[in-house]
């Protein structure tokens, strides 16, 4: 195993480990989203689209600065998506490479990834975030969150249950009663698997097909990697044998006899150096004059087409028919920026969904329109937003969800609980139930006696919209008390207006009572 393979495996494991340990309680250093935080594509997009300086943009500029020195080292050494591709490409290794002329041509589709980057950049200037559709780190995060995690939880719980007699016999009762929280993301896991299957399948035509032709993050790195100091050089003794050309996974070595390298394509993997029978290939600091002209055929027509496409897409998303009806139609996590700004900043990576311990946060469908696709929505019936948790804001790589102190979280209202008396078992059937009142952490639900019935009332001035009531309501189907967006408080900066102090009335009687 080469040094690079070691790095790749280590970074993939680190990625998975960081992702799987993301939960409650959040880590003090907030590094669970480390890979997303160093992703320059989403950092720059968040900066451009929201027109706000975000911390992520600073890290993005730093990473691009690194690319000026080391080229596309990220793609070859760190990117977990790239590592997965190296694994999946091996599945096709040895089998006859499928022949389909336009898919096999190393140079033919290369311009696509830069065109995608252009579309994303233009959309960002128009205030729309599109990077989530193609950013590899977002996709890998979603793959492990939406597809791998639920399956891992099922398998893990089956294993724990199968081994339970053994644990009990050994007296390991902690393990015998261990239970993995079971998330369910339904169609979004399937969607992610489809995407990855397709990308893996493309590997039949070219190694690292994605990185060569489609990845906008690779294209962004490539813009800077062309000027990289640390680059591939070939000695004078080269006899044009072409072994390096055959072994290069990204087609950066353009032809057998070509001694120059397209550094916008080179991922610094170094596979060509040991392949060279003359041992004249090096990776070392070298003069810029050594570089080959760009091999990307991004002619004027394609540039115009990309810019136009980006402008058209953002216009379509911004003026989406019925958007006025759709906007704000979803509950957002506490601390989410105001909706327009939120959608521009959120990269739909799913990190907040992963970290949410109650599975209240779910990938949203088209509920708030197409521009909100895959953005996180709070589904209180699945689990409430626990007042002891501020994990989602802590791991949001772009700051679309603000990191709130737990003391401030009650003030960042998600919405208001609304009681449906027609369905409430106390109001409608006179049953003994005040589960909403029991669970309300903010003292926003009180009861008043009417005969033997103790009927719940909501005081919306104290309601945070956390949804403890909605999650716990025993009425089958959708709850008789539900959180609505009306009453949500979302600010881009500054402190939230505080909730009125909990006056401990009737079911809480004036404090202190005695």
């Amino acid at each position: 195993m080469t040094l690079r393979r070691g790095f790749q495996v280590a970074f993939l494991l680190l990625f998975v480990w960081l992702l799987f340990r993301a939960g409650w309680p959040p880590s003090a250093f907030r590094v669970e989203d480390g890979f997303l935080r160093i992703d320059p594509l989403i950092g720059l997009q968040a900066w451009l689209a929201s027109r706000q300086w975000v911390q992520a943009a600073g890290i993005a500029l730093f990473m691009l600065g690194l690319a000026l020195i080391l080229g596309r080292f990220f793609c070859g050494w760190i990117c977990p998506f790239g590592t997965l591709l190296d694994v999946s490409d091996r599945l096709w290794h040895g089998k006859a490479v499928r022949k389909r002329r336009w898919l096999n041509d190393a140079r033919r589709l290369r311009w696509l990834k830069t065109a995608f980057l252009l579309v994303i950049a233009v959309a960002a200037l128009f205030g729309q975030g599109l990077a989530y559709l193609l950013d590899p780190i977002c996709w890998t995060t979603r793959l492990f969150t939406y597809a791998v995690w639920p399956v891992a939880a099922i398998v893990g719980n089956l294993g724990l249950e199968g081994l339970r007699p053994v644990f009990e016999w050994l007296g390991w009762m902690g393990l015998a009663r261990a239970d993995l929280s079971q998330p369910v993301f339904g169609v979004y896991g399937v969607l992610t698997v489809f995407f990855f299957t397709f990308v893996f399948w493309l590997g039949r035509y070219q190694k690292r097909f994605w990185c060569r032709n489609l990845c906008p993050l690779g294209a962004l790195y490539g813009l800077f990697a062309r000027f990289a100091i640390f680059r591939r050089t070939v000695g004078e003794a080269c006899d044009g044998d072409g072994r390096c050309h055959r072994v290069c996974p990204t087609g950066a070595i353009l032809s057998k006899a070509e001694r120059k390298t397209d550094m916008a394509e080179c991922i610094q993997c170094g596979d060509c150096a040991p392949a060279c029978h003359l041992n004249v290939t090096r990776f070392e600091p070298a003069a810029l004059s050594d570089r080959s002209p760009s091999s990307t055929d991004l002619d004027r027509r394609r540039v115009l087409f990309s810019v136009g496409g980006g402008a058209f897409l953002s216009a379509w998303l911004a003026f989406e028919p019925g958007r006025k009806l759709l906007i704000d139609n979803a509950l957002r996590p506490p601390g989410a920026l105001p909706e327009t700004e939120f959608l521009a900043t959120c990269v739909r990576c799913g990190q907040c969904v992963k970290v949410c311990p109650t599975h209240c946060l779910q990938p949203g469908g088209l509920i708030s329109g197409m521009s909100a696709f895959l953005s996180p929505v709070a589904v209180m019936r699945l689990g409430p937003c626990d007042p002891n948790c501020n994990a989602c804001g802590g791991v949001c790589p772009t700051g679309a969800i603000r990191h709130l102190e737990l003391s401030e979280k009650p003030n960042a209202r998600i919405g208001n609980a609304v009681l449906d008396r027609e369905r409430c078992v106390v109001w409608e059937q006179g049953r003994a139930c005040l589960v909403c009142d029991e669970n309300c952490p903010y003292g926003a639900i009180s009861w008043k006696a009417d005969g033997a019935d103790r009927r719940p009332y909501v005081d919306e001035t104290r309601c945070n919209g956390c949804g403890q009531c909605e999650a716990a309501c025993p009425v089958p189907g959708s709850a008789a008390i539900r959180v609505h967006v009306a009453g949500q408080v979302r600010l881009s900066k500054g402190p939230y207006p505080p909730l009125p102090p909990a006056e401990r009335n009737e079911s809480g009687s004036g404090y202190p009572y005695f």
Binding site: W24, P25, N157, E161, R164, G171, M173, G174, R177, A178, D179, S181, P357, T358, G383, P384, D386, P387, N388, C389, V425, R431, A432, C433, L434, V435, D437, E438, N439, C440, P441, G443, W447, R454, Q468, A472, P474, V475, P476, A502, R504, E506, S507, G508, S509, G510, Y511, P512, Y513, F514
Partner: protein, 334 residues
């Protein structure tokens, strides 16, 4: 044959007697049998007055109820259990012990919605000293389980004790269906396997007010050992179900934590809290619960036994002895 007026009257009256007798007789027998769950005449409100100062009817042996007041919850707990005859009375060597505290809410113990962790730790230490094989401390919380168990302080407080496990159960694989022989509305339900497999069950509830159940003491605490309880609010009567489960889960010892009590606004708070610094221990689950009513003005104005429906049902199901005025209640300040 001629039928006279007298014949007709005779036949009609005889027939009426024969047909009417069963309903009249049954009414008599009903009156004799106190099946009406809300029959008020069986419970006298005055039974709760004059608790103080009654001489203990039993001169020797542990009392029926031990009430300890003191600054340190752990000391109180140890004193209460010692007064009840020591932990060895309840735990034999090699026993699997279950302590069921209230860990239902993700609130710190100062909010008085969960059992004071020092009380539970003292119980666990005593059980281990008495030779328990292991001590299982669990709840099926209302709030998110893994957060509640941390925030309520139980996990931290029990750290460092061997063979002691603090956990929550939500998944149905930790419950087993049983039939409740004395259950009236709850004939069958799924109960925590740890309860079913335990040699000794110790109930360690916190004393607090409760919206729908009026008060949440010992019997109410068993809702945390049941898997499916939403139906208790929608399909069957909550109060009867609490009494039913109390006929099935029989703790050897109930330790009611009244270190601080949530006088109203329970069970989740926020509400007025009174620092009573008391521990009530007893072997009779019903007696402990009924004594709990005397601890504070629950719900603001205070409740009598007949105000609490699940107490009524528990009395009728003979969960225990409710006549605490006849009991040996020993109160000590430490």
């Amino acid at each position: 044959m001629s039928v006279t007026r007298r014949d007709v009257l005779r036949i009609l009256s005889a027939g009426g007697l024969v047909l009417g007798a069963p309903s009249v007789l049954s009414r008599f027998s009903e009156a004799a049998d106190p099946k009406d769950p809300m029959a008020p005449e069986k419970i006298d409100a005055s039974e709760l007055t004059g608790l103080e100062g009654k001489p203990a009817p039993k001169p020797a042996g542990p009392p029926d109820l031990a009430v300890i007041e003191g600054a340190d919850p752990a000391t109180n707990t140890k004193a209460a259990v010692d007064m009840m005859g020591g932990m060895r009375r309840f735990v034999s060597k090699g026993d699997k012990v279950v302590i069921k505290p209230n860990m239902g809410f993700g609130n710190p113990p100062e909010e008085a919605t969960t059992t004071e962790p020092r009380v539970v730790r003292a119980l666990a230490e005593m059980a281990l000293e008495a030779g328990a094989k292991r001590v299982m401390i669990f709840d099926n919380p209302c709030h998110r389980a893994d957060i509640a168990v941390e925030i309520c302080g139980m996990k931290k407080a029990l750290q460092g004790l061997d063979d002691t496990f603090v956990f929550t159960i939500r998944s149905s694989r930790f419950f087993r269906e049983v039939s409740i022989p004395k259950g009236k509305v709850l004939k069958k339900t799924k109960i925590a396997v740890d309860i079913l497999e335990a040699d000794t069950i110790i109930n360690a509830p916190v004393a607090k007010s409760h919206g729908s159940a009026y008060v949440s003491f010992g019997m109410k605490n068993w809702m945390g050992a049941v898997e499916e309880r939403t139906a208790w609010h929608t399909l069957i009567d909550l109060h009867e179900a609490i009494a039913d489960i109390a006929t099935f889960i029989r703790p050897k010892l109930t330790v009611l934590d009244a270190t601080r009590v949530l006088v109203s606004g329970g069970p989740g708070g926020p509400g007025p809290i009174k620092n009573l610094k008391k521990i009530v221990a007893g072997t009779d689950p019903l007696a402990v619960d009924i004594y709990g009513l005397t601890l504070a003005k629950w719900g603001g104005s205070g409740y009598r036994v007949q105000d609490i429906p699940h107490f009524q049902h528990a009395i009728l199901r003979q969960v225990g002895d409710h006549r605490i005025e006849r009991m040996d209640i020993r109160k000590v300040a430490v």
